[in-house]
Subunit: 202 residues, 4 copies
DNA sequence: AATGAATGAGCCTTCATTCAT
DNA sequence: TATGAATGAAGGCTCATTCAT
């Protein structure tokens, strides 16, 4: 038994090491930006020699890409939550708390802003970001349609536009968390719930 | 006489040269980011020798700081518009078009995102951003209070929170312009007007 | 019995493995030069792990030395042909074809030039090259003396000098094959035969 | 007067600096090979910071190319000598001494062999070498034709082939100077003169 | 005020070599 | 015997900054 269960985890050693690098890179990128973080810093943070990182990643660019991928995937997984709900409207309004928390977490915000800034000039990163965003938004759109079906409602406003506005509102929080450190998150959550309800029932 | 008339032109010339550098830096920073842009690029774009830039700015950091200052000032000037209006509510709702245009301009967005990302890790930039944001938001708050006075309205929602939400919504557009290149700006403007009205009259 | 029959196969295996490495190294050195070829490339070409190569060779330098040894030995074996001939003069004149072919083969030329360039600065390689050359030239000298005895000829020209010139002529072909890709080998062979005959009968 | 004569040399400062780098590079390349020589070594030898070398050359490759160009040009200038002679045949036979000296100079030989080895795998270098060789050989060919006209001679052997053989013979000396350090240059010169005469009058 | 030559630290990356398994 | 993960010292190159002119 032992010898059977031992092998798989060991063969994932490489995956573990890759994770080590990505975790270290995330920290360094957050603190210094993609271009400000050096491979030496990353390798020290990862507890690995600079040379060895290149066994797992082709270049610093590849690490950036992997970080962006992983970060956006985490964001996307987050969208799944709402799918199986009976009362989508209520679930979404309730979900605002969670969304506000996530997007005002300074660490999350810092890395995400770094990604956004990079995507404004790095086409490869931009492509990844756009693809991820497209998927997220499509899910949200599907959800809204499903929700309207639940209520038997009809809207004069394009669903796509609603999702654009909603996601812009949450994206904007990333900046607010830096702009305004004294932000009253609870009060904001209450207000955003009202706006969310207003937009969804428009 | 001489000493009076001589000095101003010279300092004007210096100001002009500083502007030259900042204009060049803005272009370079937009295209390559703060860390990706080199002093050599900036000096070439500015039509000035690299060495001479250091007569006007102590360091690259100082140029970044100056760019941030200038960019945020421009944004702030923008807020003035609403102040003198007779029907503030209407003026603000009408102003949405303008705000959407400004924040979905890719060039503007790129530099502003760069500033935001930098402010997440550079305390000096963060301070500037926060100060600028504080002033903007205070103005907006004053405006909303004035507007409520115009209407004789009373609100259960803290005005500060309203401005947080409104500014988050516009900030979010900076990202949307990168996320979603096929954004329907007109439809979005219409929807944002409704939300704006909803929030202001809440 | 056991200890006798066991050992040879094992040492054969080792010899085979060493050969594998040298064959791979020859290819890599030809294509990238001694310094341009990496141990990783060699190990991949040899179908062997990089670490294991160090069981057979102390260092990359040692591989270079071994390659040089082997390559020069192959060249030297080549000289044997003329030894047992009845009409040495004719055999040598006829052998020109073969010599031209060998020294204008681009792959041969590349490795040999690499060796020559290295020997101009690596004393260990230089020693090997000089030793090999000395043996070759001595053989050639012996041959010429034997040939003159066959004819009962006497020459005013030092035999050593003749062999210097003849070998220089063939060495020079290594470069011609790179200099002049449109080289007319057949016509050159004819001319070289005449020169060879002229020198030998001088 | 002074201010006029002073300026030109100063404006050639860049050319001087380029030369400095090339001279240093030639030394380093000779001693360590193109790939064995480091930019740090070259910069130290040139008495210049590593970074500053890149004001004059785009890359190490560019320095290699420049070295190859310069070295081959020097070789080519050498060919000019024979052009204006009244008795070309005699001049060429006399020139052998000079040719032997040049091609058995160990420093010259080392760099030229390095160039040849590199050209066997670096297409850019190969192209330069071939072009230079083509020009040299064309000159030699023209010379031989002119010489035959002087004598009113006719030959059954293609002139091009003669030049191939002659240049191969001299190229071969580059290797001989490394192979055989005890080479008797004077005796070889005498023999080469005879061969030269034999080939030219064939 | 203005230049641009010059520096040298630091960056990303490669690679010969070692060692636990 | 054999692997390949791991190291760390260079290597080529860039760039913010200084300084003689």
């Amino acid at each position: 038994m032992n010898e059977i269960t031992m092998t798989p985890p060991e063969s994932d050693r490489a995956a573990q090491r890759r994770h080590q690098v990505l975790d270290a890179a995330a920290i360094c990128f957050r603190n210094h930006g993609f271009h400000g973080a050096s491979m030496a810093q990353i390798s020290k943070t990862a507890g690995m020699s600079p040379g060895h990182i290149y066994h797992y990643f082709d270049s610093k660019e590849a690490i950036i890409a992997a970080i962006v991928d992983r970060d956006l995937e985490e964001m996307m997984e987050w969208t799944e939550i709402f799918y199986s709900s009976d009362d989508i409207l209520q679930t979404m309004v309730d979900g605002v708390t969670c969304g506000v928390d996530a997007n005002t977490n300074p660490e999350c915000a810092a890395l995400m802003l770094e990604i956004m800034a990079e995507s404004a000039r790095n086409p490869q990163v931009a492509a990844t970001v756009q693809k991820s965003n497209q998927i997220c938004q499509q899910r949200l759109t599907d959800l809204l349609i499903k929700e309207m079906a639940q209520r038997g409602a009809v809207s004069s406003v394009d669903v796509q536009v609603k999702t654009d506005l909603i996601s812009a509102m949450f994206d904007g929080l990333l900046m607010k968390s830096i702009h305004n450190p004294t932000l009253d998150k609870d009060a904001l959550t209450v207000l955003m719930r009202k706006v969310m309800l207003f937009v969804l029932t428009l």
